[in-house]
Symmetry: D2
């Protein structure tokens, strides 16, 4: 996978002992989480917060009395104490704000998805590379202990060949006005798949529908095809009476159930599977499949909040000149898949090929 | 919906007081359930059982000592005491056996799916109509108290407009050698959808994959499109470490969760939904959706076994000359959808139109 | 039930328009919750916080930058801006601190249990009455929407005669050094029972054991007897691998399951029960009992945090001169039951009578 | 533990190759299970069934057409083909029927509890020993794969010191007319405790109540004390809207949750516990307890039905002259505990000492 590795000599402007000044842009649903976590990140200091709504800034002030507040994010970009910005604004504003920040010489962390189009995402990647700045996307799930554990179990071949990845994300809301449900929820799965599997998808088929007039699709199903028999399927729904956050991963040796709503035992590893009993694969009416059922095991996971790890990782990457795990390129690839899925939805599931550059 | 209503004068050969003689063909996984239920059906008498395997016939003999056993189903077709047969053999044999039975003048109940192709299914429908015989498909789920209740809630407008039907059927096995997982599991949902909704689907998009060399698809996802914004999605999986049998139905007024694995409270009715807050649907970035959360209610359901109701219904239809709820035509329509879904799987999700005759 | 109704003329020192100044004493596990909720209570203003540990005071300062901090709670008692204190210190210190506060003329909210002995609790009740001050105990659960709903269902006779109250509270920790598990966990149930039932218990039988040398009992079971056939049973456990917070209430007309760990549907009301079929109660071998099974219903509950309601109630009672729902007398009664239960534990379950004064 | 080891020379009347003839006495709720399992037990042959109700005998005839039926159990006792009887009649008839069977020289399997009083149970033990006959009690749970696994985990010191055994058995019914709920449900736990722990209880405290006039206690709680800090608690309830069958076992090294209603993963083993952090046990206000949280593990269990194993074990013991795992003496000890618990219920929880003979 191609990473936006910036030239270290360009990026190393900060002596490693200095503190990274952070500006938080957007203080709606996610901004307070960014503020809270950067406030406790060693090596970082939150300089200011911007939001169009003064009432929200009052709330930020309660949490962090000493910081600068402004209704204009450009004030943060021109603030010399700000080395990096964390952007948590509506999706359709990501490109303009992130581009302005990069052009001001700031390192940038953008809420997922990176941008509304792959063309925009590519421009951001290029701009960050040109200026030697860290561009990171807030693909939160890959920083969770659960996904880290799953990645380890796959990479260490405990799972065996990965047969499928099957995810369901359902709840009542939150309807987004400017993106459909796959850009809001399926984006999590695309970043997880990218992180735990070694190959990327080669085509996508998706269906979806809007049940609220004038609103983007609130329910969708996405299938991702790979070059082998592995398949991923993602079911997302803003209009469900119950909340579901479940990922089932099937492998030739083990199967994993990851239920993010479980307080403990989020991951269960099942020693279950099938074995082919009949050698003769030609007699279609006689093929026999046997079943293997063994123990189940729920590994203990550390309790660390994902966003805390992520904030630390962002600061580390800035100080070391490293590319983050969720960098501009991975963010771009996710946007490419989202774009292809949206095209397939418009074509009632017709498959869209994913040409990788 | 067009039903195979046979001409009553032709069918009324049996005086309503006489007993309907039943022959059970196939005594593998499902046959014992048919035998057990027809043995307790008032107005019916099991005359004999056939199976290719003598060991299975021994088991049948234990359950019903007085009946005729044979390894050749034709013995039952030529038995004058047999008025009707119940066929529970592998899918690829359904057509030949059902056709032979109809030609012998027997009424026929066939295990789902009705046949392996819609052409075969259509021939069976025609043959039954020509001979004035009852042709019924064993779409078991529509005879469950749960599905009956859901149908009532929809027909009585409690649910409001149906937005979606979302089903998941997963477990470890049972792999079928001659049909893929949608012909084995999704067929249940297609018959349920047919039973509870007033309109049928107009197109289908499906994806699926086989993880066992030489075996049909063991995992698939099917989307059914309707003429309005209603959408159905069915996820089926023979290779899951955990068993799931869940259907979520979203409506404008209520939402229903039907979990068939719950011992009690199989159906939960949620008074939840969304309301559009903004009148201006043009400003895509400002659309606001509000959420409504009310009580949940789990109606008490009678405990009657579906197959018991179904056996009684089959016998009633024979005696009254009525078309069953799950008749040849509904069975044909389900096979048409299954065929279209298989075509879509081969085309990686490309939509297949459903031309209704 | 006798309430500590203070003489209104004495208590009405505060014109209803003035603001109630609050001091928070103890900033360990529960103190931050008190601070956070009093900060948003209309009509209240947090003046200061005390704790023996300066590090904790730093945390308080972050949350409420403008308030006074001190390691000596007496500073708050002598602060004229403080009208009332909220005490969240270890149980063995409740009496001394609350008594000192009352003697300084402050209104007092004490963390449960009110005191370590009923003699101490009685002195606090008397002191508050003598000085016309509000004495309130933090029996949090009676302020939850769930318990309010259960109380309504019982008071409105929906439940019918209450047959039993059966509670289980289990988790891994938090071991308390100065009180055993019933003073920490069963105290919740005793206050709930007091709130929802019209009669109090007349005797108690309890068993318990300590599995950690030198530590108070970490596991206990308490039965409360009433004058009729109603019985309450409380199972509490600090040494459980899984967390459980479940209360089952059986009535002649309805039964209620209250699972506090459910995110939604915390309360389920079952229309289930038994009916006696045989009139002859003398033939012990023939008595027949029939079963009634109807719908289940989960009423929607408002999402308001209990402690928020509680803080508002405390301030209201101070301004109006009212006795709180959880006042000194109810707190005393709970301590009496806890004392009796501890006596019964020492006597391996021998019943202890509860003489009400 | 003292077992009723009969003198092998007396018992060995049956050459090991011969078939054990079985008579089933009582064909109500449990009898059909006994019949079905003994029919498939190698080395056994069911000779006849008796029940007072001819309608039930008709049902038995359907399942086993060739066997003898009678409304008088004495017919089976005088039948020379009957070597052993399995008694599944109401509890108050156990003693008379079992005693008559032993006196007729039959081996005896009795439904739990062995008898209504310990005096009766002791007479049965003595009679069986005198006549060299196998006396077995149907303590079904100790023959389940789940309890066998728990026993192994305890005996192999995986669990460490057993701190507690905490069981809940609740459902709506089945009310018994001649015994209270502890004789019906808690009896299971007493036999499990006897089987998995090496020491027996030394005292019991129990509370209980009847909510149906003229009926025995339908809800009870039983605490069993041991000579060390281990404690067992059993909660049983015939009047619960939901069914619960859960046993929690806490140990110094591991904790076990056994949920018998789970289709799979009936047993979960948690690597959780506490560690004492403070050496000074004298300062009661400073004792610190630390928590240990590790993996969870659900061992795969074989699917064999307990009653099948039990029927085989009964036949084996008859043929080998061995004492069964659940023999007369273990049955007597369980009845002694039940008697003591009933006494304690009458005394509102006052502890009753268990003097072992």
């Amino acid at each position: 996978m191609l990473l936006t590795v910036p030239s270290p000599t360009i990026c190393r402007e900060l002596p490693s002992a200095s503190t990274v000044g952070i500006g938080v842009i957007g203080y709606g649903y996610w901004g307070p989480n960014l503020l809270r976590n950067f406030m406790k990140t060693a090596g970082a200091e939150v300089v200011g917060v911007s939001d169009l709504d003064p009432a929200r800034l009052l709330n930020a002030k309660k949490l962090a009395p000493g910081i600068r507040e402004t209704t204009d994010f450009k004030d943060l970009l021109s603030d010399l104490r700000v080395d990096a910005v964390a952007i948590a604004t509506p999706v359709h504003t990501h490109f303009d704000i992130a581009m302005a920040a990069l052009r001001s010489g700031k390192h940038v962390l953008v809420e997922k998805p990176l941008a509304q189009t792959s063309a925009q995402a590519r421009q951001l990647v290029d701009e960050a590379a040109r200026r030697g700045r860290v561009l990171m996307v807030d693909h939160t799930f890959i920083y969770t202990p659960a996904v880290q554990k799953i990645r380890d179990l796959i990479r260490e071949r405990v799972v065996g060949d990965v047969y499928y990845y099957n995810s369901t994300r359902a709840s009542l809301g939150l309807f987004q006005p400017d993106v459909n449900v796959i850009w809001d929820l399926a984006v999590h799965d695309m970043s997880i798949i990218q992180h735990i599997l070694t190959n990327g998808p080669i085509a996508v088929s998706a269906t979806g529908v809007s049940h609220v007039a004038g609103s983007p699709e609130n329910m969708a199903h996405v299938a991702l095809f790979f070059s082998d028999s592995c398949i991923a399927h993602i079911s997302v729904n803003w209009l469900s009476p119950i909340k579901i956050r479940q990922i089932l991963i099937g492998g030739s040796s083990k199967m994993i159930m990851y239920d993010d709503l479980e307080a403990t035992e989020k991951i269960k590893v099942y020693d279950k599977g099938v074995v082919t009993l009949s050698g003769s694969e030609k007699d279609v009416h006689q093929l026999k499949v046997g079943y293997r059922a063994g123990d189940m095991w729920a590994p203990h996971l550390p309790a660390k909040e994902a966003l805390e790890s992520e904030a630390e990782h962002f600061v580390d990457c800035i100080r070391r000149g490293d590319a983050p795990m969720s960098n501009g390129t991975t963010g771009l690839q996710v946007v490419q898949i989202l774009e292809a899925a949206s095209k397939s939805i418009a074509a009632q599931g017709a498959p869209i090929s994913l040409h990788r550059s």
